[in-house]
Symmetry: C2
Subunit: 215 residues, 2 copies
């Protein structure tokens, strides 16, 4: 019975995700689901990305957190519109929460919608939101064993961003191990090394982002 209920929850979620996708497509908005552990730098990346992605790309953000509106306050400085979704004890965003977020936005004014998921390497991977692409972040402060330990998340990635690369000289981090583990799970996603602090890798990330807009 428990398993049956879980299946029903996921099916209901997928149906709402499809409806979200149709709304986004109708308004010609690219939706990007960002997933990672807490503190990998999702919000900081968006603070740097949104002003840099181009004047013709008006961006909004849906941001999921258990509590607080801190991220939305930060992103409100750079985005056209920002909606904070508090999940309470929920460990991921659901398609229904995103649908409510879409209701609060004027989609016709937007080119890109970033969906910053709850900081978590497990639950968000199970819930489609209606996004077009999935971006997975891994901070080098988290250790080089995380791709193998959280395969479900990395399997789904359309791009993997290895963040806080400016800490490379201080932290022991085996880049080859991450590349090897990723190549076994996912041959599709490029791995981009990036630092929101120094700007390293930002060009490659922005190029990747612009390519998604033209697909």
């Amino acid at each position: 019975m428990k398993i049956q209920v879980v299946e029903n929850v996921l099916k209901a979620n997928d149906a709402i995700a499809s409806a979200n996708r149709q709304r986004l497509d109708a308004a010609n908005v690219l939706a990007i689901n960002l997933m990672s552990a807490p503190g990998s730098g999702k919000t900081t990346l968006l603070e740097k990305t949104i002003p840099a992605v181009g004047n013709d790309s008006r961006c909004a953000v849906l941001v999921g957190d258990l509590q607080t509106t801190r991220d939305a306050e930060r992103l409100g400085q750079v985005a056209v519109d920002t909606v904070q979704i508090n999940t309470g004890t929920g460990c991921h965003l659901s398609a229904a929460q995103v649908a409510e977020g879409l209701n609060a936005l004027d989609l016709n004014r937007l080119a890109i919608l970033f969906i910053e998921n709850v900081g978590n390497m497990v639950c968000p991977a199970a819930f489609e939101l209606g996004e077009h692409v999935k971006v997975v972040l891994l901070s080098i402060a988290e250790g080089d064993d995380k791709v193998a330990k959280y395969p479900t998340l990395f399997q789904q990635a359309d791009v993997v961003l290895l963040t806080k690369i400016d800490l490379s000289e201080i932290l022991e981090f085996n880049h080859d191990r991450v590349r090897d583990d990723l190549s076994r799970l996912n041959t599709r996603a490029p791995l981009i090394e990036i630092s929101s602090k120094t700007g390293q890798g930002m060009d490659r990330w922005l190029d990747w982002l612009r390519e998604q807009q033209h697909q």
Copy 2:
């Protein structure tokens, strides 16, 4: 119906957790549940703690991960016994998984059982395992906003370890913000700043640990 099922799952878990606790008490084993985001340094902390805690404190570890036995292999170097529990897609350890882990251990040989939970700041907070104390780690690489963003986890902590403190000079991290946020949620748990790399704070953590053994 969904909520009903979730309540039943939690009740069933609590019953098994109570049974685990009785088994641990009967064998006079202190059980410690370590919870944090991925990459906060739980495994490294245990690698340093177990050899240092004292000859009369024989330690075992139950370690939860979605996949891989990497942590168990590391901890097998220092612990009397190590059991890896792979949760598949599960975002936390359950009391039933811990009960199976206890079956694989000779509890009468042990003084301390460390339970290294799945790297996750949300789900583990909802599941009692039968432990005596809860240790919550926060790496300063994760950012100073995490106590406010994940209050359920920090409310339950018996001690909070602020890890990777050796990175303080490089990373911007507002220690006062963490102290203030924690003091609003939890007046019981001491906050110990620690570095498994340099050894800073290890004495205070080991003292805290030994106090738990004598309670």
